[in-house]
């Protein structure tokens, strides 16, 4: 083999190696983070809805029987994080067969749906859902309500802690309210400034209209969230609701941060020491004259209904 051929082979091998290394680097830095290690259903639904379906003896929902509704049954929909609650309400008050689950999603004929906060708000305005179980509305959702000429009634049915989350390997366990605001406004951009390792802070946000994004905008008040694209290579902070993080999603390697030195526990929500506690609501149209709506709301606010809320891991309105 002459010298020229050797150089040609080396060039070829170097080119192939360059792309192999480039692919490995891209996968490890960017792609790997998006790989969801849960099964496909969990990935698409965020939680395993199968585990919280009504009329199923092995379901994880709270099983308390109320008076069964008849006649025109309201269609229930809402946030993912609240699914175990409204699934349990259906289990308590609807006749069997009201929920039609095909193994991957709900049938359009099912009186129980789970489209998530943003779509649920739209569906109640469009008349496709009768009661939705959601966090408070965003500015955009209030505007959509006004534009649609629909008046919605918001009935607080429980409370939940708004929590900040990091990877469980992150040495930071506590942040103050002002530190978090400084992180999301770009004033603090490195974990070492808040007691962590020397690496950028990747401040994650959620889609507008989602319950946790609405809660975050309320948390920030007048401060505007600023994102820096290079921070994507750092270690992340995000936010959600306590029960969704701790019990529903089944995600590992996540921990919730104490806020102003107070951990987001049920006890601290109840005794009022955790600083970020938000109500969640049963929402219906004021012009909906279906009598079952009032009956269901009355059940939700009754002792049995509130036992479902607290038994599901949330904090009922009468307990706070």
């Amino acid at each position: 083999m002459n010298k020229k051929t050797v150089l040609q082979v080396i060039s070829l091998v170097a080119l192939v190696l360059f792309f192999v290394v480039l692919d490995i680097v891209i996968f490890n830095i960017i792609t790997y983070r998006y790989v969801n290690h849960a099964d496909a259903l969990t990935a698409s639904k965020s939680i395993k809805l199968d585990d919280f379906l009504p009329f199923d003896k092995s379901s994880g929902i709270v099983n308390i029987k109320g008076e069964t509704l008849s006649g025109d049954l309201p269609v229930l929909d809402g946030a993912t994080a609240l699914f175990p609650i409204y699934s349990a309400f259906m289990n308590s008050t609807y006749p069997e067969g009201s929920c039609i689950w095909n193994g991957a999603d709900f049938s359009p004929d099912s009186y129980l749906q789970k489209t998530g906060t943003t779509k649920a708000y739209q569906r109640i305005l469009d008349g496709n859902a009768d009661i939705i179980f959601v966090a408070g509305p965003s500015e955009k959702q209030l505007q959509a309500e006004k534009d649609a000429g629909v008046e919605l009634v918001y009935v607080p049915i429980g409370y939940e802690a708004f929590v900040f989350i990091v990877n469980s390997g992150n040495p930071v366990d506590n942040l103050t309210t002002s530190q978090i605001k400084d992180i999301y406004t770009g004033k603090i951009r490195n974990w070492s400034d808040v007691g962590g390792i020397y690496t950028p802070i990747n401040a994650l946000t959620r889609a507008e209209g989602s319950g946790s994004q609405t809660a975050m905008l309320a948390f920030m008040g007048d401060e505007k969230i600023e994102k820096n694209i290079t921070d994507v290579f750092g270690k992340s902070i995000g936010y959600s609701f306590r029960y969704y993080v701790s019990d529903l999603s089944g995600k590992e390697n996540i921990k919730t941060l104490a806020l102003d030195g107070v951990a987001p526990t049920v006890e601290n929500i109840r005794n009022g020491t955790y600083p970020e506690v938000d109500a969640f609501y049963a929402v219906y149209r004021k012009d909906d004259d279906n009598p079952n709506i009032k009956l269901l709301i009355d059940f939700i606010l009754s002792q049995k209904g509130q036992d479902i809320v607290s038994g599901s891991g949330y904090v009922g309105v009468e307990l706070k």
Binding site: F19, R33, Y34, H37, I197, K235
Partner: protein, 46 residues
């Protein structure tokens, strides 16, 4: 190795290399659409 064969191999390697990067980025974008904030944070390596 003839110059023609070398050029063909180099262009093929270049083409396949670029294609692999493009496919990986498309796959990443696909995953990004389905990923939850929890799995994104949970997958970080410390």
């Amino acid at each position: 190795m003839s110059d023609k064969l070398f050029k063909t191999l180099m262009y093929t390697a270049l083409l396949l290399g670029v294609l692999s990067v493009v496919l990986l980025l498309i796959y990443t974008l696909y995953l990004q659409g389905n990923a939850s904030i929890l799995s994104y944070i949970g997958n970080e390596r410390f």
